[in-house]
């Protein structure tokens, strides 16, 4: 405990018998101090999260449109949604997008983490540049992708045409299924570094002796990965997957920038369709009911995560 001497060296001692003020006395009590310290946070979170959340539920059961007060209409908005083919497509897309992108990010992120866990020259530089897609504003990098997927000037088409793999241009964003594939590609490109770097941090906590022991016992690299590495980083892997699932499920910007939900509204997800209805069509109530569809899934993931944290404590 050598730090104690450093700490006591700091001149905080107030030895004079100065009587503390009433406020000072009050703040000596831990629960009063705690209240004071938490007040700013609680004010902001109440005003801008709790209150809008309640307001959102009210909007979802109202026929509010921009510029005029709404009336209570029960579950009509939800009924309209479930009869809307674009909404149902968005519903399906949200799950497809989340599931496929998360699986790919996990697989590639794990591969990247295993590669980065080796010693090689420029390792720090490589690791730092790996995170760039995650650091750079998503909108701006997605615009670069949009240009790379351009109908006429796509660089991928240029390469494929010149190599002779294709004879006609591919309209990357011109078809619902293909556009979905492009969205997932960009999402994986952007989100994979988060997996790689956090999993790498997990890998670095593994005691190398365990691997050596397994090797002496005759386990090959593949067996060592499944029997030693994976069980040890399972906790952090699970947490990363849950975080990423929430973010992917609630994604907006990547899809809105790359396809705007098109072509023919075939690539909407909950987020972009809620925006389309609420902001472009000015139907705030209807839009709020669409984003509320995110809630059950989010709640499930959050409850699972809290349960998992409690269990591992």
């Amino acid at each position: 405990m050598s730090r104690i001497t450093i700490a006591t060296g700091v001149p905080v001692a107030v030895r004079e018998a100065r009587r503390p003020s009433r406020l000072g006395q009050l703040l000596e009590k831990e629960h009063v101090l705690a209240g004071a310290l938490l007040a700013p946070t609680l004010v902001i979170l109440t005003l801008f999260i709790a209150y809008p959340f309640v307001l959102g539920i009210w909007l979802a059961v109202s026929d509010k449109v921009v510029g005029r007060p709404g009336n209570f209409i029960g579950l009509d908005n939800f009924r309209v949604n479930l009869n809307d083919s674009i909404f149902l497509r968005a519903f399906q897309n949200t799950f497809v997008y989340t599931f496929i992108a998360t699986v790919l990010k996990l697989a590639l992120g794990m591969a990247a983490a295993l590669l980065l866990n080796h010693h090689f020259r420029f390792k720090r530089l490589v690791r730092a540049s790996m995170l760039l897609p995650w650091i750079i504003p998503t909108v701006l990098s997605t615009l670069a992708w949009q240009w790379m997927f351009d109908a006429t000037f796509s660089v991928f088409n240029w390469m494929l045409l010149n190599v002779g793999v294709i004879s006609d241009r591919i309209l990357w964003l011109g078809d619902g299924t293909l556009a979905m594939g492009c969205l997932i590609t960009v999402n994986v490109w952007r989100g994979m570094p988060f997996f790689a770097i956090t999993l790498l941090a997990g890998l670095q906590t593994i005691n190398p002796d365990l691997h050596e022991a397994a090797e002496i016992d005759g386990a090959n690299a593949w067996q060592r990965f499944w029997q030693v590495t994976l069980p040890l980083i399972k906790p952090i892997m699970l947490v990363v997957v849950l975080f990423s699932m929430i973010a992917t499920f609630a994604d907006f910007q990547l899809i809105y920038v790359l396809t705007r939900g098109g072509p023919y509204s075939s690539t909407h997800v909950f987020g972009t369709y809620a925006y389309e209805i609420a902001m472009r069509a000015a139907k705030l109530g209807q839009g709020a009911s669409i984003s509320l569809f995110l809630f059950p899934f989010l709640l499930t993931v959050i409850v699972f995560q809290l349960w998992y944290i409690r269990r591992s404590d």
Binding site: R15, P137, S141
Partner: protein, 282 residues
Amino acid sequence: MAAPRYGGRLKRAVVFYIPLTVMVGATLFPFYWMVITSIRPDTELYNVNMNPFYTLHPTLKHFHDLFELTMFPQWAWNTLFIATVSTGISLFCGLLAGYALARLSFRWAAPLGTMIFVTYLVPPTLLFIPLGDVVKTFGLGDTPWAVILTYPTFLIPFCTWLLMGYFKTIPREIEDCARIDGASRLQAMVRISFPLALPGILSAGIFAFTLSWNEFLYALVFLASPQQKTIPIGVFTELVRGDVFYWGPLMAGALLGSIPVAVVYSFFVEHYVTALTGAVKG
């Protein structure tokens, strides 16, 4: 470190260097594309027969156009102002709250900690419609304060969570010593614990700054007039007219909007990684 021993150079190339090169190439290619697009003249950009990978006639015209046609400098200033102030607010709140939750014993500690963790996981997509109404009610619509006050909703929980974890690693005895020397509860906190938490504050600050620099949805919904926009919104909305994309200036703007965060990040890579992994582990 469990660095596997490979049989030969060929094997190491196949299982290590080739995958590593492909991975780094795929990661960085879009950035190369931003750079090359921003310096190629329009006559080359819109010519399908030309090799798009390089140019023999680099030009700064797109950057010039970006500054002439749009309010890019104003957007850059807005983004910097908004990111700085909202990061400041979030660090202030997160520091106090993180300290209270890590150090003080009071009845509501556990449920409040859980509640802040839950708000950390609430995505902007769930709230942006009612929040737009709230922002309007408070008269903040189309002002920087609309986003400066709403970004902390996702920044504070993150900062609190990270700093709470950090305070737990600082031994309580250090404060106890100061208190024996006559420091008050508040003095011990401000003069002893806060300075020791400086690395944690820096990590949280870097991370919060990049998050607010990059934010899109709230800025898109709450900021309407061109002079109020941030870089991500401005580049996306003002350089696309109908179906016409001004790709040269667009990529120039994307590049200039990316460089500040990349520079901040490159100076503090280790702090950023600490924040990233700490945010997950808690």
